[in-house]
Symmetry: D2
């Protein structure tokens, strides 16, 4: 794996932004591997992802900020810099159904997901053996319907101790509080088992079955305080027919959920996702 | 094209239905080409489509009813019989956007759609040249917002005169009255430019764009008195990204609409669609 | 799970076959749940799958044969009868890459695959931990390039001892001998990592990458003595672009292989696949 | 439609290329709308598409070359510049089947394809009415199997007179000579009715049917002197089953051919396609 830096920028559009950013990198002897830029002309918003080799680059990343800041300030840039060799710390949340969890653990094992999976957290104990088999700490944080906050307090503690960068809701069937969401802005990825905005809320397969749709879907998105309303990262669908019972929809849906969540997680870990106006730009 | 008969049945399930129906056909010397059966075990509903060669069959279709009726009555069957050589009479409704109209006319010309297209009806005059070029009568029935019923009365007259069997709403952007829908139960096919039930109602592409979905869709369905709530016949989707402007969604959507509507229309014409519980069984 | 019988038939077409088969079942008090029939009119071949409830059926399955044989003989039927409650015994073959193996083991654990997985066999030892974790015997049968037959002899012994019904080649990268294939006719399912017949043979992703295709695929098929030429059961594809390196093709391909093989295996286990003329009819 | 310039570049990779190109544009007061860059690290090949507004840009396009050439020469760039307002002149070639022709004419009429369609050329006369109805010159150039060159000589004359930029083979069923291909390098787009490289050559649907594939496809590609071997621009597939007769494959294939060819043509017209190493980079 090459040692690279990834810079994500969004700011109001103005002439010369690509030139200024790429020239800055060039002046510091960075060789650009990928540069991708997008202009949302309705919103006048400039968005860019640029990745360059650290080999030969004459700034280390801590000193990048002070060198880049004048340019950034001048153009009102929101920017993030990432080091490709730094592994983010991830917590996987799961409830009873563990297909996404098993899938992510497998993908991690064979190197598809560049991160440290630091822990598995669940409101049930079913997933414990799977987590243990992967050598991961498992934390059982049962949710008392009369005191939902207590479980979250325990979770916050775990996440803090683990210095968690990213929370993955791998079929975690509890609604997060606003406090939780606000602690990890755009750092919580959920998978919803429908093609959003169809079938927002509970029992989407049941409702898809009753409605007689011919395609079912799954959606991975950043969690926000509005349930199922966060910025969509990825969606997938599969064909169903009258021959498919509800159980078939659920079975087919599992594959959609696994693939959709894994893609979204990988893109996030590779710093490919920019969010603005409750939408995502995915630089792939 | 072979001369065949197609029988569509739905009724409460009971033992021996496949045997009784297929034996009836066999006793009358019909050679079954296709037999497809479905059991909705939740509803205890038996559904069947069977198609056999008329060559050798010892009943003509008018006399089929009296021969079959005792069996049908005994089992509470709803049934329809169709003759593959009989062309249904179709009216195409369109507003300003004519991509579905042009597509259906082309498919009809090359033999994909086994029917007589009897007329084109529109609340605008834009599509007239296209209809004329295809040698079809074009009826302009402008809709006065203060007197919507007048246009429909004129349309009823045209449909009656043309002995229309099937109404296709090929991007006809007016809501039909309940009276209209009731006159053509399960004989009006609409295409909605979204993946229902997402984005029910108006401006679905605009709303899809604003929501930032990663897939857009189209849905063909039977029109019922509840807008966009009728039984779904077919759906298709296509991937979009942040690079797609609203115009790109609309452009991509046109292909989805064309394909979805053409499939639904063909399946209907080939007597492949059975409706129950506001869902379709499509025997393909 | 309901106790059902599944009958698969293919024979030369003649009038009355659906009636005769369904009447036979009805006379013995079987309630048909699913009946699906197909006529290949070019080959004059009749194919049928019928599934009925054993509850109330007045033949046990061992006595079915003698009762059904006169009818079968008269019409030249090839037929197979299966009991839905009988679990087939399956051997999973794998080489170094274990993504299909892990996927099938997971699906089996949660009940997607109705069978007994009796053993894992590999020419490498890499997959042993995965097999052990699933509580399965693991047999390491290394293949000596100078004596390929020896490994197969050992494998035959294992398969015989395990009374194996179905062999799944879950990315097993050795070519089977004709003797092996002949021992398990239409009971060996392979997954090939391309969209057959494109890229038959070795290194399909490499060749797809070099050719610059825009879609890659995977194919599951019954193994025959002609490499990659057996009857195709299922295929899937995914879009790729110039941004995808060879490693990305391989990564995307893994998901295609998993899904394609799992579907084919499930359909086989559910007795949904009929083969004739080197093609499959999949009754789904 | 905005007045923009589009620059396509490919050259050996070296540090600073994005900076130099974007700075060049910035220095001349061009506001970049889209910049997309790709590095083929295996081949050490740098590829870029950049589009900027002409409003405010201080070079006119004829003078761009002399200003840009020093930079281009220094880095060994192959480059092309296009003016978004200039419509390319297109000749559509067709044989008997006119579904792609009709589709492209319709898309052109509603503004999906930014070009001048200058003529329709065919070895049959079937498509003449369609061409005439679109107000286009139709040239019948029958192909004498004993003197194939004569038809091409006539075609060259027509293409020269029409100053044709792009040739679209919209199901033109004649093989072009090397001379033809060499006259329009990377300016002839063909649609092949299979998922290449499967079923290269003639009768792909027939062969797909016989092989029993579960997906069929279509491929649009630049024509080269090697039949069906040119750089692939786009591919699409659709699912088929045992119920699909050869005619169904052909029918389904028509939709794939239409969509695949229309996309490839649009991308070419929008200067989104770069070719190197017999592969395409499609900047979408």
């Amino acid at each position: 794996m090459k040692h690279t830096a990834i810079l994500l920028i969004h700011c109001p559009d103005s002439t010369g932004l690509v030139a200024r950013v790429s020239s800055f990198i060039f002046e510091h002897k960075g060789n650009i591997l990928h540069a991708d830029q997008h202009l949302d002309s309705r919103q006048g918003m400039f968005l860019m992802r640029v990745e360059w080799e650290m080999d030969g680059f004459d700034l280390d990343l801590p000193s990048f900020a002070s060198a880049f800041e004048p340019l950034a300030r001048k153009h009102g840039m929101h920017w993030r810099l990432a080091d490709s060799t730094v592994k983010q710390k991830v917590a996987l949340f799961v409830s009873k159904q563990d297909h996404c969890l098993a899938d992510l653990l497998y993908r991690h094992r064979i190197g598809e997901l560049h991160c440290d999976i630091a822990m598995v957290i669940s409101n049930h104990s079913d997933a414990e053996p799977l987590a243990r088999a992967a050598g991961l700490p498992f934390h059982h944080t049962p949710v008392d319907p009369d005191n939902r906050g207590a479980a979250e307090q325990r979770q916050f503690q775990l996440l803090d101790e683990g210095q968690i960068d990213l929370v993955i809701l791998a079929r975690y069937m509890q609604v997060l509080s606003s406090e939780f969401v606000d602690r990890y802005p755009l750092r919580i990825i959920n998978v919803h088992h429908s093609f959003l905005p169809a079938f927002i809320g509970s029992h989407p397969y049941q409702r898809a079955f009753e409605r007689g749709v011919k395609l079912i879907g799954a959606t991975s998105h950043y969690a926000t305080s509005s349930l199922d309303e966060g910025p969509i990262i990825e969606q997938e669908i599969e064909r169903v027919s009258h021959r498919d019972e509800l159980d078939d929809l659920i079975r087919k849906g599992r594959d959609l959920e696994k693939i959709t969540l894994a893609r979204a997680m990988r893109w996030h870990l590779e710093h490919r996702v920019l969010v603005y106006a409750n939408k995502t730009v995915v630089f792939v």
